[in-house]
Symmetry: C2
Subunit: 364 residues, 2 copies
């Protein structure tokens, strides 16, 4: 078992290891939970709960916790104020106190919502993330971003609320649908491009880039991604600077998701397209080499992630969606652009025609 520390205030551990989900009660005790209130609300969704909740709940009970369960409907379209209300209602029904905890046994959607509920119930109660998707393991469960969608924009409503513990058990990926696994590879590749050249090289060296990799390799990859995320968040908890590089591929990615009404591409697929656009822009601005950009394209293709935008998609709509992005500063769209494999910078001044050409490039 491996432990990574996220050095925010207060610091918290990411505990990574096969079977850790069935020791969650003990791990929660280790970080001091349960001293004042034994109550724990475990938020999950039906499929995940069927596979993993019984033993996890038993582990909580064995450690002296008093667990309650709430199952939410799965999927991004339920990441709404109405679903959030269900978590609040459960918190009230079970009379959670300020020192009670919420546990998100889930992927990123329910993880973000449970995190936001924990951030705002009684002005903030302890949160534990037990990510069940690869995407949540390498990204959303770490770093304290929580939130729900506004009917007209993703994650517009949210809060920073760091978990007290992140427990990652790679074995739960056994039940993850293949497309969900693949989509997370976009974020994995992202860490290789912006932070960890060794990870990038490791991904290139794999015979195939899919779930058939050996468990030890998968665990090592998750470790590298979680470490990258932890290092970035430790240096910049609330996205005042460095943390913005984690949005690599997300500027255009979010816009693509929005204009296709979240129906054509899932998050990782849109991010992969965003990475390709950012790579194209970085080459145009002479920030990085065409050769490195080629390596990125090859890796995205190897992961069987999309490399083309539908030609029917109107570039004007994409431009509008870009302007609505959270990351807009004084009307300027911000792009994260690679400088080398393992290094990225934030650029505010990408000329509009360059953005146009990047979009056109993805449509041809």
């Amino acid at each position: 078992m491996t432990v990574i520390t996220v050095a925010v205030h207060p610091p918290y551990p990411i505990v990574l290891g096969r079977g850790v989900r069935d020791r969650l009660g003990a791990e929660m005790q280790n970080v001091g939970l349960g001293r004042h209130s034994p109550k724990v609300l475990v938020v999950s969704h039906p499929t995940i709960a069927r596979h993993y909740a019984p033993r996890l709940l038993t582990s909580l009970q064995n450690a002296g916790f008093e667990p309650y369960e709430l199952r939410l409907p799965p999927g991004e379209r339920y990441k709404t104020a109405a679903t959030l209300q269900k978590i609040y209602d459960a918190a009230l029904a079970y009379r959670l106190e300020r020192s009670s905890a919420m546990v998100a046994l889930s992927g990123g959607v329910a993880g973000d919502m449970t995190g936001f509920a924990a951030a705002t119930w009684l002005r903030g109660i302890p949160l534990v993330q037990v990510p069940t998707s690869l995407l949540a393991m390498v990204d959303s469960a770490i770093g304290g971003k929580t939130g729900i969608n506004h009917p007209r924009g993703k994650n517009l409503i949210g809060a920073f609320h760091q978990p007290r513990l992140v427990a990652i058990d790679p074995d739960v990926l056994a039940t993850l649908p293949p497309r969900e696994f693949r989509t997370a590879l976009a974020e994995v590749i992202k860490y290789g491009v912006i932070w960890d050249a060794d990870l990038f090289a490791q991904l290139e060296a794999l015979p195939t880039l899919d779930r058939r990799m050996p468990p030890a390799v998968l665990e090592a990859i998750i470790y590298k991604c979680a470490l990258a995320k932890a290092q970035v968040v430790s240096q910049d908890e609330k996205e005042g600077g460095l943390r913005a590089i984690l949005n690599y591929g997300h500027t255009l990615g979010h816009a693509i998701e929005a204009v296709t009404q979240y129906r054509v591409f899932n998050h990782g697929e849109a991010v992969a397209l965003g990475c390709l656009a950012a790579g194209f822009i970085a080459v145009e601005l002479s920030l990085w080499s065409a050769a490195d950009n080629q390596r990125q394209t090859a890796l995205i293709r190897k992961a069987k992630l999309p490399t083309r935008l539908p030609a029917t998609l109107a570039a004007a709509d994409l431009r509008l969606a870009l302007q609505a992005d959270k990351k807009v500063m004084a009307g300027q769209v911000r792009f994260v652009l690679p400088k080398a494999i393992g290094q990225a910078v934030v650029v505010d001044q990408v000329p509009a025609p360059t953005i146009e050409r990047a979009i056109a490039h993805l449509q041809t």
Copy 2:
């Protein structure tokens, strides 16, 4: 004009003075707002807006801001997720960015909601409080508590989000309904009991305790209360310890409001009853003197705040409501109890029969 600094991270000023509302733009510039985004959403309600919005908006424009206005329906019953959504919708419609600001030109209800919207829009944007009620001036506008009500409990959903500036203009109290002024006196008396014996003595020395006091006296009283709040919050931003004493009178106060469906007593009136109950309990537990308790009762009576609970109110309902309070720790109801005029402590172990007797005392 007086400035009090709330020493949290980052620190922020409370600017107190007659006419400050019409210099808001300059005051906002002084704290660094407007550098990256000129947009400001001013949230108010119709009556307040009619009196004070035009000149405040002009002052913002003169300072280079781009103000937008939103008027919410007034009253505690609108402190809901649905009203919050209106603020989010306006933030989206005006495309507020992370460095845009929200200004609450309002009493405590809209101030809490605007604060929560600012806490959660794009995971947090700058907030300015311009309190228009005495209650908001001395209490809710300072200290970063924000939130909305759950259908079954007040302020159950919320966040800590400190404002960047609090601008208090006592002149706006001219249009405050008399009952609203009176209800705030409960919080004013509270500061005298828990923190500032001089304030308590000053209140005792006034010929009458109502809005007929001279403006200079009113301003001095507001100053003392705001200073008390700022000092407590500076020592304990997120209610880990000391700040709990600000809940003096609120444990039973909230329960009284809840069991009477927020229809019989307003917040201050319920707090006054809560203070009387806490005083009774403190005497029973030999924490403070019957003489000081008498002084508190006399001051509450002088402020024409209620001193009696309806006999029809079932004590059992009150007990249940107490258990639902946010301040419950491990099933124990927490009371703030006075030790002397100007000093209070938090007590977890008030025996149930003592609470019963306090309730009965208020009903006879």
